[in-house]
Structures are given as C-alpha cells and as structure tokens.
C-alpha cells in the first residue's frame, strides 16, 4: 500500500534496472512465455482428468440398447436412405414428422427465415423437426437434447444419415421399452436443417431471443418446449462401420463445454470399447515413447488452440454453450478398408450411457472446469497453468509502457527550467486524444453491421466477397498511405521531442484488450498476442527505424489475414503456380471476411469485432505514432 502514497517508488533501485533494460526483459518474457506454452503439453504440467460431479455415476448401469425388439438399426437406416434418395437437396420433413409420431414422441416442427444481411431481399427458409419424450418422473422442468444435423445427399459434407438412424433407434428404445420409467428429464430429439443455421434458429426460438444483429435471423416460434435444457449431444455419424468417435468441443467464440461432459463421453466410449479421439488423435499412449507422446500431445493441443481461436464452432454443439447448455459433438468417422471397427449399436450404447448419466444429474454442470486445454483425451491443462503464458506476454507490454513512462518523467525531471509549466503541453494531450479517438471511430464505422452492407451496395455488380475485400482493402490502404503524409505535413506545429503519452496509451490498450479477449477465448488472445506483442515492443515513442515501420506494416490486421490464408492455401494446394496461388489467396481472404461478417451478424461471433475494434485502432494509433513529427534533440544529434 506504500505504492499508493510514496512517489519515490518509481525511482527505486529495482525500478531503475527494469527501466534501463526493459527491452531485454520483454524479450526474455516473450521467450519464456512461448517455452512455457510448449511445456504445457508435457506430462508434468497437464493432469489426469477426473469426474468432479459425482452425481453423473458414469457407466454404473449396463447398456441395454439392442437390435432385438422393434425395428432394428438396419430397418431405420434402409428406410431413411430410401427416403433421402427421393429428395436430392431437401429435407424429408413429412417423413421425419411421421417417423417421430410413430415412435410416440410429441412431435413439432419449427420454421425459420434468414434475411441474408449482405444482400437485400435475399431470403432463405428452413424447417427443423423435433420430438419430445416426456419423462414420466418429472413435470417437464428439465431436458436433454440429442440432435442430428440433416444433410441431403447433395451436401458437400459427409452424410449424417447413420447418425439419424441411431437417433431413431435410441428414441424407439427410450420410448417403447416397457422398463424405461426412470427418465426424470425430458429428452428432445432434434433434426436440424442447414447445418448451424437451423440449430441457431431453434435455440433462439427456444429461448425467445435473438443473438445476432436484429432482423437478420427470424427464428420463428416454437409450440413445444421442455423446460431448461441441461445438456446436449450432437451426433454426426458418417457410416455404419465406425473407425473412431471424435469428441468435438470448440464452441462459438471459443467457449468450451464443462470438462465433466467431455470426460463422460471418453469414459463411456472406453467402457463400450469404442475407439475415441480428440482432434482425431487417439489418447492412448501405449506404444509411444516419451518424446513421441510429447509431440503428439503438443500437436493435439496446438490444433485445439487453432480451432478455438477462430471462434467458429466445429459442430452444432458449439451454439448451445452461450445459453449455458453444456454440449459436445460425437463424430463417428468411417472405417475404411478392413479391420476392427465399432458398430453403431456400440455407439448407441455410449449415447444411452451418457443420457442415463445426465438423467442422474441433480444440479446443472458446475463442478468441473469450463476453461481448459486438452493435450490428449485423458489429460487437461487448467486455466491456472496456461494463463501465465499470456500474462507474460501482456506483462511485457505493460513493462514497456511503464518504463517508457518512467523514462520520460525522469528525463523531464523537475529542476529543468520551466519544467512545471511545460509538462502538460509537452504531452500533447489534445492531439493524442484526437488520434486515439479517431482511430476508434474508424474502427466503429467498420463494424460488421455497418460497413459491409455499404460496401456490397456500392460495388453491387461484383460478388460479395470481392466487394468486401475491395472495401476493407482500399480503406486500409488509404489509411496506411495517407496517415504518414498528414502526420508529416499538417502537424508540424505540434512538434515535440517524443509522443510518450500516445505510445503508453497504445501499449496499455493492446495489453488490456488482449487480456480481456483471452478471458473469453484464450486461444484467440494468445495467438494475437504472439503476433502483436513483439512488434509493439520494438516500437519507440520517437525515431522509429524503417525496419520497425516495415515490421508494423506486416502485421496490419488485413495483412495478418492475408498471411494466414496464404499459409492455409499453401498447405491445401502446394503445387499451384504463383499467379493462381495469389488470386486464390485473395479470393479466400475475401471469402473469409464475408463468412466472418455473416457469422457476426447471425450468430454473434465476435472474432471480426475484435479485429476491427481492438487491433485496427491500436494498429492505426501506432502507425500515427511512427510518423508524428518530432524534434530531434541536440544532444542526440551530437552523439
């Protein structure tokens, strides 16, 4: 607390060391952070997963799902296939409705409309079908969801029909077998259309809200509900012969489901001896040596970080998380060739086990971790371990800001002639606030629900993605080119030896922004920090060298986007000639921007907002800083 009252603190011995060598400290912190992050995948820093919620009682009962009573899985599957062939591009709604009714479920359908935000008067409609199994032991207060996205044969994604057949089989078993009186939570069997759009519309309608921009997704009304949804499982099973079940977690904006639910899936797969993976990597370390298993863990963890950082859910489960519903996707990959495979019945028993465990739950999931990284199916890294990596990076920014400030205040120490009167002018508060405010206003104008519509309207003769790319690209180019000229020519009267205040504000804003982002989505925060912290540390409050300027230009948000797409395109199509490659990268960047804006307006994904409201303003402010007119002091010159 002496910190609050003692102004001599900034002049202590330790401080002076920090101030003098802050650049070295920053670099060390950066390196330590990266090293620590890579270490996280190691056996000694991750821990074995366990169940926090004892009420789950996983695998305590024997799975009873079988093919002996009623129609078998094959009957359902054959019927479904025959039905799907009739509708090349559509969903057979009437068939699904009658099927659910036949299974004695309370059946409803739900219509929704999407008013495509980037083009006027473009509408898409869709229809979900769902059936509710009313639990005999409750008053429809809580429920669990089992969902399958319906994919017509023309879909580019692998078929989910086997998953739908499994759902029918399970619904039939849960509803028609005479001894199933233990259900205490309603079970909703949901078939959605148009991938995530249908799911989002259903969830919005269920909760009577709208998450994206108003008027974009008209989610319609539901006529049947089943209380508060406690958990959801999304099924994507691609084949009758299943090689492995991949458990997918990443949700919208990097939200993750409770670790207990993830553990539950892995534990029950283990019990039914179904091969289970995370990010398509098997968790079992048998047969791998230590080094190998470390690299596997590291790559698994990195791929999780990459998926999470995009903020785009990797399955329909990801949309549930926002509503406080824990959800995962079980994706069954097809077994190719010969060898041991798991039958759908085994997978069905896994789901049965999960539902019975969830049925046991008295309280909603709250015990286990919500923030974690998974290096393997059975190990986790808790938030307490991974957060220091980011804190080190952000700490470097803060250290830089702190020492710049201290340096400045000691340079102009009292005793200089007319020190007291010149200090406020010296900081150029007015100009600095104009620059920071201006850069943020530009950011606000570029928000996904303002600028894109204007761009597409302006260049309405070209495809949306090109219009967007052109719009954002030209605007960024203008800022990049014009700002230095303005700064040089027009602000000569504001000459000062350096612009510490602006520098410190930029550094602090970047640091605080990154911390806030990583609180919600660690992966996004950390990856952004990895890119931006190093160049930001290299900047000075005045006299930035050409290399720094060039480096800073390279990390312009648009450029970063370009580099990322360039890398992804290269890994996908390594043998393309250079011109084709470049056009492809440009097209892909444009597409990415369109997807990102549309995601923002429909689902409320804020990856684009972070770029526009945090990175772009900070970048612009730094860019201004580099070109602000400065007086080169005589002292420095003589040296």
């Amino acid at each position: 607390m002496g910190l609050l009252t003692d102004p001599s603190v900034g002049h202590g011995a330790l401080t002076s060391i920090f101030v003098r060598h802050h650049n070295r400290f920053c670099i060390v912190m950066y390196i330590v952070s990266v090293a620590l992050f890579c270490m996280l995948a190691h056996y000694s820093l991750s821990s074995q997963t366990y169940f926090s919620e004892n009420a789950l009682l996983p695998g305590l009962v024997k799975g009873q799902l079988n093919d002996n009573t009623g129609s078998s899985f094959r009957d359902h599957y054959r019927e479904l296939n025959a039905e799907a062939e009739h509708f090349e591009t559509e969903t057979p709604h009437s068939y699904l409705i009658s099927k659910f009714k036949n299974l004695r479920l309370e059946t409803y359908s739900h219509n929704f409309t999407l008013n495509y935000p980037l083009k006027k008067n473009t509408k898409y409609t869709g229809r979900n079908v769902y059936g509710i199994l009313r639990a005999p032991r409750s008053a429809s207060i809580e429920s669990i969801v089992l969902s399958v996205p319906y994919r017509a044969p023309s879909s580019v994604f692998p078929s989910t029909l086997p998953g739908l057949a499994v759902m029918f089989q399970i619904a039939q078993f849960f509803r028609r077998m005479y001894n199933q009186i233990y259900w205490a939570k309603d079970i909703i069997f949901l078939v959605t259309e148009h991938e995530q759009l249908g799911m989002q519309a259903w969830l919005e309608a269920y909760h009577g809200t709208s998450c994206g921009s108003p008027g974009v997704l008209d989610s319609g009304k539901l006529s049947g509900r089943a209380g508060a949804i406690q958990a959801a499982i999304n099924l994507e099973i691609h084949s009758e012969k299943i090689d492995h079940i991949d458990v997918k977690l990443s949700g919208l904006n990097g939200q993750l489901p409770n670790l207990d639910l993830v553990n539950l899936a892995h534990r029950l797969c283990n019990k039914e001896s179904v091969k289970h993976t995370f990010n398509n990597v098997d968790g079992g370390a048998i047969g791998r040596n230590k080094v190998n298993s470390y690299y596997t863990n590291l790559s698994t963890m990195l791929s999780m970080v990459m998926t999470q950082a995009t903020g785009v859910p990797d399955g329909n489960h990801g949309l549930f998380h926002r509503f406080g519903i824990e959800a995962i996707t079980l994706e069954g990959h097809e077994k190719e060739g010969r060898g041991i495979y798991s039958s759908v019945l085994q997978v069905g028993r896994v789901i049965e086990g999960m539902f019975r465990s969830l049925n046991n739950l008295l309280e909603r999931f709250h015990q286990s971790f919500f923030f974690y990284l998974l290096p393997s199916t059975d190990r986790y890294v808790s938030i307490g371990l991974y957060m220091p990596c980011l804190v080190l990076l952000v700490g470097a920014l803060f250290l830089k800001a702190f020492s710049t400030w201290i340096q400045h205040s000691t340079e102009h120490k009292p005793g200089d002639s007319s020190a007291e009167t010149t200090i406020p002018e010296h900081l150029n508060v007015g100009m600095v606030s104009v620059i920071t405010l201006g850069s943020h206003v530009v950011g606000l104008l570029l928000l996904p629900n303002l600028a894109p519509a204007y761009f597409t309207h302006f260049w309405n003769y070209m495809p949306t993605h090109r219009a967007l790319l052109l719009g954002y690209g030209s605007l960024s180019l203008t800022i990049v080119c014009i700002l230095p000229i303005i700064m040089k020519k027009c602000l000569n009267s504001f000459k000062s030896s350096n612009w510490v205040l602006l520098h410190v504000i930029c550094l602090l804003e970047l640091g605080i922004g990154l911390l806030c982002v990583s609180m919600h989505n660690f992966s996004l925060g950390y990856l952004t920090a990895l890119v931006y912290v190093l160049p930001a540390i290299c900047t000075k409050s005045s006299q930035n060298s050409l290399i720094v300027k060039f480096l800073w230009l390279l990390v312009h948000p648009m450029c970063s986007l370009f580099w990322i797409t360039a890398y992804i395109t290269y890994t996908a199509y390594p043998e393309l000639p250079i011109t084709d490659y470049l056009t492809k990268v440009l097209e892909a960047s444009g597409q990415w921007m369109v997807l990102s804006t549309v995601d923002n307006m429909i689902y409320g994904n804020w990856a684009f907002t972070v770029g526009v409201l945090l990175l772009l303003p900070v970048w612009t402010a730094f860019w201004c800083l580099m070109f602000l007119p400065t007086i080169v002091s005589k002292k420095m010159k003589t040296e």
């Binding site: 004695r104 207060i141 199933q180």
Partner: protein
C-alpha cells in the same frame, strides 16, 4: 316420542347420535376411467362425504382430524392438491381437478374471521402435519390474497415432492381406510409410478336457499402410460395392470360405489372390454355398480395411423426467455381455438427473487398489442411479498395471446439458497380462469358426485388451468469459495488499513528519510559491480543512463507531495 322418554338418558344420547349422523352424512366412492389419446389411461378416484351439520365436533364418516382443523381455523372452503408430473392439456384435454406440479393450497375463511393471516399460517402448519408435506414453508413471501376477496388465501410450493409419505396419511382420512373399496386400489408402489398423479382434498359448503351442506371430496388423478404397464406394444390396460390388484370387497360404509368408463375413444379405435357394463350413460359412458369381486380389462390395438391430437379449446404455454443471468423474460401464451371470443383471467404470482419490470408488461394477441380489460398489479417486496399480477383479457377467436414481462435475476443472501443450489429455483404456475361452453369439453366436474357431473347440462363451465412450472438459475456462488474470499478480503483490508489509518490520523512532518539498505539496493550494487566487470572485460564505453536514480539521501519529504528530491525542495524554497 313416548318410547324415547322411557329410555335411559345414556342410550337416548347414543340413539340421537346414531340417527343424527346417519341422516346427516353420506359417503360415496367413484372411479372414472378414460383412455386418452396416444395410449395413456386417465383414472380419477373420488371419495365424497357430504354432511349437513356445520359443526365438526362429532362425525362418523367425516375425518375427525380434518374436521378439527376446519373448525379451529374457521375454514369455509379448502383445496389442497399434491401433484407430481405435468398435466398436458394439449393432448389430454381437461382433468377433473387441475393442479400444478408440487403442492398447492387455497382456502377461504369465514367472513367474520378477524386475523386471517394468523389462521392461514395455522391452517397450513396443521395441514403440513396432517399430510406430511412442507406446507409449513408457506409464508407471506409465497402466498397471496385474492384481489376481490379478503378472506381468500392461495399458495403453491412447486418444489414439493409428492410420495408415499403423503399418500398414507391421505388414505387414513377415508372412512374405509385402504382395506376395502376403491381405495384398496391405491398402492403406493403403483401410484408413484404413474406419469401423473395428484392427491387432492377439497372441502366446500354447498348452499341452497340458506340451507348448507358440507362436502369433502378426496380425489386421486392418475395417468398411466399403457406402454409401461402392458408389457407389449398395444394400448392394453386393466385394473390389475394399473393398480397391481383387482377389487375384492366394497366399502360397506359407502352409499354407492361405481366405476365409470369413458368409451368415447372407441369410435376411432375399437377395443374390447372384459365386462359388460350394468348400464350405459349418454351412449358412451359405461357404468359398473360394485358389489363384490370385480375386475376390468381392455384390449386396445395400437392404431395404425397416429390420430391427430384432439386439442381442447383453451390451453396455455409458459416459458422463460433470454439467457445468461442478468435479464430474463417471462412469457405466458394462451391459445384460444374457439370460434368465439372468451373472457379469461390470468393470475401470475411471481416470487420476490424475480423482480419484474411493470413497464415491460406487454399483452399481444396474434402479434398485435391489445389492452387488457382489467389489470391489477401489486408490486412485490424483497423477502416479504410476491409480485401479483391479475389480468382480465378478451381472447379473440382463434388467437394466440401472449403476456410477456421482463425481470431481473437477483443476488440472494448466501443462506437463502436451497440445498443443491445449482439445481435452480422453482417458479410456480400461473393460473388461467375462463368460462367455456359446457359442450366444448366432454366432461365437467363441478358437481359433487361424478354421476351428477356426467348427467349435467348447462351453458357455461368454469375451467381453471394451471400452467407448467419451470426452474431458473439465479447467480449462484461457488459454495466452496467463501474461505478463499474471506482470506482475500481480509488481506486487502489489512493492507489498506495501515496506510489509510496513518494518513488520516498522523500529522505529516518534514524530515529527511533515513537510508536503509534493502534487498533492491544490494541487487543494484551487485548489478553495477557486474556491469563494471563486464565492461572492463569488453572495454566498451557504456552509454550514459537516461534514468536519474535518486538515492534516498537526495530525497526529502514534502508535506503534500511526499518524498521529493532535495533539489526540488531547494527550488521550492527559492
């Protein structure tokens, strides 16, 4: 009269009671069975005692324990329902007694009763003892008085679980207990396996031209899913399958015992009944008089085509909107499928921990905003009073009326969380009262006996719908954290206390700070040493440091600025 005079006083007394009671009390047992759509079977038991005497000091059939309570607390009318499960109006139609899940109690006291609240809490406490329920949790924060009626009180406890412990004392109130008659069908094992079960006690006066009778109806509603009881894929049912036993002896105290079977669904799905009825009422209700051993079973084939659900005229839907734990909304929808308008009264009683914003109250009919005919709103008060909202509406023909209101989620005191706090908080049902044409529903239940109801004709019928309950998640603390929080808070307070106390209580004086070599200065000296050695080795000329480090000797203390340099002080002096 002469004969009576000759008897001794004692036997006269006995005879008087005998004659009196046999004239004043009647008892009847009835069971009404109705197969519902999609394979459910609804059975409604009603045990009715009607007496003429308004004092409950002496009775033969009327349960004495209940009579005492009614007398003592000046109760004029009483309804208690203990329910588990949700009645689905949309697919099952209207029940005989509509009760929300959990416990529900309402009472009307005699008009001359002085301290109604005292009697109300006394009554609920007494009943909680009588029925082994948690009615003793009723207080001002979860009960309300009717806007029109000073002597009426209502409360519901949606969290209440109904189980054997409630059924056993309930059965003890019956004249034949559970040994004989229809009540022998009520085995706790079977009753609580039903998809919906509701126990009820309904006491009311029946007054006609100044002459009053008192009616006590004990009711049980059960809905079985034929899939769970029939062990095959048909919609078969029988008394034995539902209740685990047949009927062997009738209750000799009952004036009549009857079973009614609604066979109206026979027209769409023909089925076979094991026994021919004694007679048939209104073409579709088979009546069986009970005397001796009786068994009833039905073989119902599963329909090939799923019959579309027969929807009642008026049904409701209620849910919570929004997500997160900041704001939420409460929506009650009322569907009117009738071809003419219906006047309905909606009563919302929202607990105090969901403070509603009255200005957000919105009533829409088919999406168009409408103005209610009447509206009574009594704002709630934290921990004391519920938010009471009574709306009278005209429901347009074939319309969906939506009443929505926004609310806040409240932070509770840590002791106010129930056990299993993360389970959520129960919000009780809303009540919708409306008058519908009598012919719109196949059965009505406003007369004393089921037989009278089956024969009844008339114009209007008052229905009272109870909507579903739901749970909400209030911001719930992690109850394992208080220790950490206490530690953290105490540390912060302790650290802040010292300097603040110093600054506020001590007078600041100008002194020269003494230099105490600390760890930092040692580190600095070491560092300088290292640096000189390093520089000597590389023979580099070091840059002049831009930072001026003040040694503590150079620092002085300024009354307002604290430690400042000597130079500063000198300048100041000049």
């Amino acid at each position: 009269m002469v004969l009576v005079y000759k008897m001794s006083t004692k036997s006269l007394w006995l005879l008087f009671i005998f004659i009196g009671s046999s004239y004043s009390e009647t008892y009847s047992e009835e069971l009404f069975i109705k197969p519902l759509a999609t394979g459910y079977v609804y059975s409604f038991f009603q045990f009715t005692v009607i007496r003429e005497d308004d004092s409950f000091k002496h009775s033969t059939l009327f349960p004495h324990s209940l009579g005492d309570i009614i007398d003592r607390f000046h109760v004029a009318e009483l309804n208690v329902d203990l329910t588990s499960g949700l009645w689905k109006h949309k697919s099952w139609g209207y029940p005989a007694v509509d009760a929300p899940s959990g416990a529900e109690i309402s009472a009307r006291f005699h008009n001359d009763t002085q301290d109604i609240d005292k009697h109300w809490y006394g009554l609920t406490n007494a009943l909680s003892g009588l029925l082994c329920t948690s009615l003793n949790f009723i207080n001002s924060a979860n009960s309300y008085e009717s806007s029109a009626d000073r002597v009426y009180r209502y409360s519901n406890l949606p969290r209440e679980n109904v189980c054997t412990e409630n059924l056993t004392p309930w059965k003890k109130l019956l004249p034949c207990d559970s040994t004989r008659g229809l009540s022998s069908l009520l085995n706790s094992g079977r009753v609580h396996n039903a998809n919906y079960h509701s126990l009820g006690i309904h006491f009311r006066p029946l007054c006609n031209a100044g002459k009053c009778k008192y009616e006590l109806r004990q009711t049980v509603s059960l809905v079985y899913d034929s899939i769970f009881i029939s062990f095959n894929n048909n919609y078969d049912w029988s008394l034995r399958k539902m209740f685990g036993t047949g009927l062997f002896k009738t209750c000799p105290l009952a004036d009549y015992s009857k079973i009614y079977l609604d066979t109206s669904s026979n027209s769409s799905v023909p089925y076979l009944i094991s026994q021919e009825p004694d007679y048939v009422l209104k073409n579709n209700i088979a009546v069986y008089n009970l005397n001796g051993i009786f068994h009833l079973s039905a073989i119902v084939p599963r329909p090939k085509i799923v019959v579309s659900e027969l929807r009642p005229l008026l049904y409701t839907d209620r849910f919570i909107t929004g997500f997160g734990q900041e704001y939420g909304g409460l929506v009650t929808r009322i569907y009117n499928d009738h071809k003419s308008a219906i006047i309905a009264t909606v009563i919302e009683n929202i607990p105090w921990f969901l403070p509603i914003y009255y200005h957000t109250l919105k009533v829409t009919s088919n999406g168009i905003r409408v103005i209610p005919k009447a509206l009574i709103y009594k704002p709630g008060k934290g921990r004391v009073r519920i938010y009471y909202l009574e709306i009278v509406l005209e429901l347009a023909p074939r319309s969906v009326t939506e009443i929505s209101v926004q609310f806040d989620y409240v932070f509770l005191k840590w002791q106010e969380y129930p056990p299993d706090a993360n389970h959520g908080f129960y919000i009780g049902s809303a009540i919708v009262k409306a008058t519908i044409p009598r012919n719109a529903t196949s059965l009505t239940f406003d007369k004393s006996l089921i037989i009278d109801n089956l024969n009844s004709t008339g114009d209007d019928y008052l229905i009272c719908l109870k909507t579903e309950n739901f749970i909400i998640t209030l911001p719930t603390p992690d109850f394992s954290m208080p220790y950490n929080v206490i530690c953290l808070a105490c540390t912060v307070v302790a650290l802040a206390f010292g300097p603040i106390h110093n600054i506020t209580t001590k007078r600041l004086k100008l002194t020269t700070a003494k230099y105490v070599p600390g760890l930092a200065s040692v580190a600095q000296k070491l560092y300088v040493l290292m640096e000189t050695i390093f520089m000597l080795k590389t023979k580099k000329t070091g840059k002049p440091t831009p930072v001026k480090v003040f040694t503590p000797e150079e620092l002085s203390y300024h009354p307002t600025l604290g430690h400042v340099s000597e130079e500063f002080m000198k300048n100041k002096g000049n």
